[in-house]
């Protein structure tokens, strides 16, 4: 029997909405007292006992000051009392957890788990990911106090605070979050649309004829979504230096180089629709309505650019019909202070707190990271090169080819890895009814 279709009042709202709040905070939590934490979760599901209610996807009237969502690691489900037989049915990627899968997603060298924040790589302590969005820092502090109120029943082992930057830019200066998958049943059925099973467990997936494995019990996992939570530190000074060098080497405008490596100008406009100059920012309704089908040589948008790697759209592909198969819902927010133009180098940590939602961590998130971002296997012209923005380029090993129409291709070489993994946690985000089931005996 097919599982129930996910509904807005049941799925966690963060899967379907980026919220667009100014502040976020993510607590990685260790559970010490199962019954006390189950009791907290029960209050969170109902919004009682002075605990902020877990946010569903129902529309709100006035913006709530604080939104809370929760995900669980595999060891977190164990800590909350899910039985061994059920735990063993979860897919291996989730059971192993992010630290043991790290090498597969390109977390080598300085990005390897031994450089991550200790609490997040320790499966005996990383149990819950408590994610909050607030209108003010005070609102977030209130949410933190709700957890801290449990005293020794839990430990907050790591905290990550995100701060939205003006105009939705990220630290590398690009407007972010423009392209998101649209999901059947929730979005207008026009153009490319992902089936429910690409993001909610239990339904036909984006691979023809394939349904991702359903773990058990069904009460817990139906319509749940996996999340790869990632804290990615960005070396903005090195990135800007690279643009200066590339501009010098090529005799091109540095913003043109920035657009070629991303596939979008820093104001968010696509190279496909704005091949020569950035222009005024496109209207949000058209900023993502483009394809690569008319650019078979990558002369407009390079095959190796970030957006063409992670989402080849209608462009040609090695694996036929795979164009939309590795899509993930991205929920990101920068952390750390904005760098002012001309500011001297500092040692302040800044980067992106990224969440990558999918129904299969292996088929979507890891497949994207390993085969496309880090090996360029989807197009023969870029095999063995890594994403210039988010890939592992070692120390000075980066190569990026800009195909040119009427002159020799431009090849940029010798750049570093600009993004360092500081934390990574695989969680599952159950529905609200699943949370009620999980805490039923609290």
């Amino acid at each position: 029997m097919s599982p129930a279709i996910p509904t807005r009042d049941d799925v966690q709202g963060w899967v379907l909405s980026g919220y667009n709040y100014p502040f976020s905070r993510h607590h990685v939590v260790a559970v010490h007292d199962r019954m006390a934490v189950r009791s907290l979760l029960r209050d969170a599901v109902t919004g009682t006992g002075g605990v902020t209610q877990i946010q569903s996807a129902l529309p709100w009237g006035e913006r709530p000051p604080l939104l809370a969502n929760v995900g669980f690691t595999h060891s977190g489900l164990a800590a909350l009392g899910v039985g061994r037989a059920d735990l063993d049915r979860f897919p291996t990627d989730f059971r192993m957890g992010a630290a043991r899968r790290a090498i597969r997603v390109g977390d080598f060298g300085d990005n390897a788990p031994n450089h991550w924040d200790v609490g997040t790589r320790d499966s005996s302590r990383a149990h819950l990911l408590w994610s909050m969005h607030g209108l003010t820092i005070d609102d977030l502090d209130r949410g933190t106090a709700e957890l801290a109120g449990l005293g020794s029943a839990l430990d907050i082992v790591a905290t990550y605070d995100g701060t939205a930057l003006p105009d939705n830019v990220v630290h590398f200066g690009y407007v972010d979050g423009l392209a998101q998958p649209r999901i059947a049943g929730f979005h207008e059925p026009a153009g490319d649309i992902s089936p429910l099973g690409a993001f909610f467990l239990g339904h036909p997936s984006q691979f023809e004829g394939v349904i991702f494995d359903m773990p058990s019990p069904t009460e817990l996992v139906t319509n749940a979504t996996f999340n790869a939570f990632r804290v990615l530190e960005q070396d903005v000074f090195a990135f800007e230096d690279f643009l200066d060098d590339a501009a010098d080497q090529t005799g091109r405008n540095r913003e043109w180089v920035a657009a070629k490596i991303c596939g979008r100008w820093r104001n968010g406009n696509s190279l496909v629709t704005h091949p020569d100059v950035a222009g005024e920012p496109d209207d949000p309704t058209v900023v993502d309505t483009f394809g690569f089908g008319d650019d078979p040589r990558g002369e407009v948008c390079p095959f190796a650019s970030h957006i063409r790697r992670v989402n080849p759209r209608d462009g040609e592909m090695v694996t036929r019909s795979a164009n939309n198969s590795r899509r993930v819902i991205r929920r990101g927010m920068p952390y750390g202070p904005l760098i002012e133009p001309g500011q001297p180098r500092d040692d302040v940590a800044r980067g992106l707190i990224g969440n990558f939602f999918c129904a299969s961590l292996t088929a979507q998130f890891e497949g994207l990271q390993h085969d496309w971002i880090n090996q360029g296997l989807h197009h023969p012209n870029i095999v063995g090169t890594n994403d210039p923005i988010s890939g592992f380029n070692g120390t000075g090993d980066g190569v990026f080819t800009i195909p040119m129409a009427d002159e020799p291709d431009i090849i940029l070489r010798g750049f570093d890895t600009f993004t360092r993994t500081r934390a990574s946690v695989y969680t599952i985000m159950p529905t609200l009814s699943a949370l009620r089931w999980l805490v039923r005996s609290a």
């Binding site: 090695v318 292996t362 197009h379």
Partner: protein
Amino acid sequence: MIFDPVIRGAKRVLIAFWARREPPHVPGRHYSPAVADNVQRTMNLIMPLAHPGPETTAQIVKLLRQRADDLYSGLDNVGTVHFARFLVIDGNLQMISVFDGDIETYIRDFIASIGHVFDAALAFVKDPPPLPTAENPARFVDWVHTHDLIQMPDDLTELVDDLSLLPRSLLTLTHTEPDSQLGMYRAYAGYSAAQIRQALGLDWGEQ
């Protein structure tokens, strides 16, 4: 020389004792940032047949002939496969292939393209994975891992400090994993199937 069998037998007992007392580290698949380590990877899937014998082999031959078009066009669609061949040896159905990228991505793309043909072949195998594979892809990937031969590391210094010796770590590993891939030569290392097809002017993907 009359003592050779005795000595060999004694060595086997000793190695088995070592392996039980100090189980070897069984190497998993090798991952590295180097492109040559990420293309032309190998899978050696050894699947014991439930009822080995001429009839089973003949049925598998018939199945593969009947579904050859599906199989080959499916592998073309996956696009990252250099070679794939089926064999029956000593009562085992074997699928030996050379592919690009992560094995788990390969298996999942493979299920989406030709899972139905593979399901029919798996019906002849002892203790098959949950079928259809298209509704149990993660469990099929796990099953593949347990039936894929381990691969001896290219860099034997992980196991062997002195190549003039046969160290205990290598002996206990070959005891625990009697079948394994010993090594592989590549005439054109570091190139993907799509790169080679493109260079030869062949159709390499979705055009």
